[in-house]
Amino acid sequence: VNRSSERARFDRTFPAVPESLFDIRDHVRGLAGRAGLSERAMEDLVLAVSEASANAVVHSGSPTVRIRWVLRDDGVEVEVADDGVFRNRVRVPSVEGAGGFGIPLMAALSDEISIVEGTGRRPGTTVRLVKRNQ
């Protein structure tokens, strides 16, 4: 991952409950507006981040979900990370959401997506979404 173009980052942590999803979207909309993303790019990113966060809320058993906003020269990157310490996470499909729609949806909405599954030593899942300036 090339991080040389990173200009700023901002972390915020939310309780891992469904009611946080609204606040997370609100948070991302605010940051996206200031980053100069187009309305459509912002809506795509908001939906992708909300999906990733919903997965963290439902599946991780983590008490919190951390949203990392990274402003890059070529766009923005958002990391959605949980630290599901209470449940053994095994494979990527656990991130897919109840209907298994999550990953294809997030991939369609983003320019780049990567998912890092936690290990016993370093628990938690991180979904990284990139939206580039057109």
């Binding site: 409950v17 469904p18 009611e19 999803l21 609204f22 979207r25 309305e39 459509r40 809506e43 795509d44 908001v46 939906l47 909300s50 999906e51 919903a54 809320v57 439902v58 959401g97 109840a98 209907g99 729609f101 999550g102 294809p104 949806l105 369609a108 909405l109």
Partner: protein, 102 residues
């Protein structure tokens, strides 16, 4: 904080949704849909003032459409950009008893 409002509408018969529909609020819609689904027929969901919808709502729609089968259909009325994107990506527009109406 009220993030979603659900209103029962008689003409056209269905629901008017306003706000944001996600994992936290999808249960409200499911409950409101229950009676309409039982009766069958055409159900119109006016989503013109729905700012956001996620895949949990899409899953509810798919379940509902399967439950309706040939007893009824759903019309999604006035979807905005964000919803049309979700509908397209998730292939909802290919389900026979769902109509997306501008």
């Amino acid at each position: 904080v009220t993030t979603l409002s659900v209103e029962r509408v008689d003409d056209p018969r269905g629901l008017r949704l306003e706000g944001e529909l996600d994992l936290a609020t999808v249960g409200e819609v499911e409950m409101a849909l229950g009676e309409l689904v039982q009766e069958g027929g055409e159900i119109t969901l006016d989503v013109g003032r729905l700012r956001f919808m996620d895949s949990s709502a899409v899953q509810l729609l798919i379940r509902t459409l399967q439950g309706l089968d040939d007893r009824g259909r759903i019309v999604l009325h006035h979807p905005g950009h964000s919803l049309r994107r979700l509908i397209g990506v998730m292939g909802l527009d290919r389900i026979p008893n769902l109509e997306v109406r501008e």
